[in-house]
Amino acid sequence: MDGAHDMGGVAGFGPVEPERDEPVFHADWERRAFALTLAMGKPGGWTIDMSRFARENRPPADYLVMSYYQIWLAGLERLMAERDLVQPDEIAAGRALHPASPRPALSRDEVAPVLARGAPTTRPAQAPARFAPGDRVRARDLTTPAHTRLPAYVRGHVGVVDLMHGCHVFADASAAGAGEAPQWLYTVRFDARELWGDDTTAGAVSVDAWESYLEPLDGEGGRHK
């Protein structure tokens, strides 16, 4: 979606302000909000892409004034409400008001193995790759109200395929509950002047793009169509 989260190149946010000797968390509620979000992944059963969409899909003015963990918390509440796990009246009351569904919690013993395993997103290829390193490609000019990971600042611009990462779960499909629909994933490198004209101090900028985000340049084809 074209939301406030898609920040690449947006002007006016001011300088970056590093914090000396920054703690991992800045308040105890941040610790708990972080841990609740990770722990609820098991009983909740949502994908990381659904989580990202639940966080970013809110009015731009809200997104920009909320702190990072406030956004996490709001995203978690939405994911749970959508699945009837916890309703807003229960959070307001501070106690359970509706029956729980049988969904086992993440146990303390599971924490280390679950974190160590993570959730790899590589999947077997269903088709040959359309592009190869060195191919020139154009990022498609896609807009959608749904989740996507093609940032606005590269749309319509021409870059070069730099790296291939195999086939990965397609974020747009996964966020929509449409399954994994794996696609080839590429790092596409753009000359910074292609993106910004002369108004840049970068040499090159790359994004990681699923195959359906990309189209071959006219006359150059895709090698393996």
Partner: protein, 209 residues
């Protein structure tokens, strides 16, 4: 639930306490419903406050500086090379290491959210997740470096990596001069978190820690 790090920053007090109450209420409801185990929450927090952090990445970088075969493995398959230390898993399932040279400087950002290589760097700092960094890194990385007090020669090309999928990037900074006879352990002390994101350089032996 240690409160040792609690401080106010510039947040509004009443808003903060409202959020605090909300999180507490949520944890109570989820515990009553059997969806979370508070002991598991404690361990999740402890893991990222005390076990997983940029010290992990510093060990990886220091080994790459001292062991050419390890450096080659890291650049060929960073996920596997990092797993040699036992650093694996969540938000580091697919890692690519990118090497700085005298002519090329790499910087990593996630313009869309906050993607960051947790197993080697821990959880991201606030500035990494902030609008100023996410908006400006892809367009004006020299301006961002200036905010960190870093100036690079004009002939250094800056390459910015926007983490828009599940690939996570680790910058392999340049080894500081004057460290030829240093051990891997000593070198690791020179590897800062920011040098592995690309918003800083590794410390030189003369810099205060």
């Amino acid at each position: 639930m240690s409160a040792s790090h609690d401080h106010d920053h510039d947040h509004d007090h009443s808003e903060l306490s409202e959020t605090e109450l909300r999180v507490r209420a949520l944890e109570t409801v989820l515990t009553e419903k059997g969806y979370v185990d508070p002991a598991a929450l404690d361990l999740l927090i402890e893991t990222y406050e005390t076990k997983v952090g940029p010290r992990n990445g510093a060990r990886v970088v220091a080994r790459a500086w001292t062991d050419p075969a390890y450096r080659a493995r890291l650049l060929a398959d960073a996920t596997a090379a990092i797993a040699e230390f036992g650093f694996t898993g969540r938000q580091g399932e697919h890692v690519v290491a990118v090497e700085n040279t005298p002519r090329l400087h790499n910087m990593v950002v996630c313009t869309l959210c906050s993607c960051y290589p947790w197993p080697v760097l821990g959880l991201p700092p606030v500035w990494y997740k902030s609008a100023p960094y996410r908006s400006r890194a892809v367009k004006d990385p020299r301006g961002v470096l200036a905010d960190f007090g870093v100036t690079l020669p004009d002939d250094v090309v800056i390459r910015v990596w926007d983490s828009t999928a599940e690939i996570r990037y680790l910058v392999l900074p340049q080894r500081p001069d004057g460290t030829a006879d240093w051990s891997e352990e000593r070198l690791a002390d020179l590897v800062t978190r920011d040098s592995m994101i690309g918003t800083g350089l590794a410390r030189s032996p003369q810099d205060p820690a």
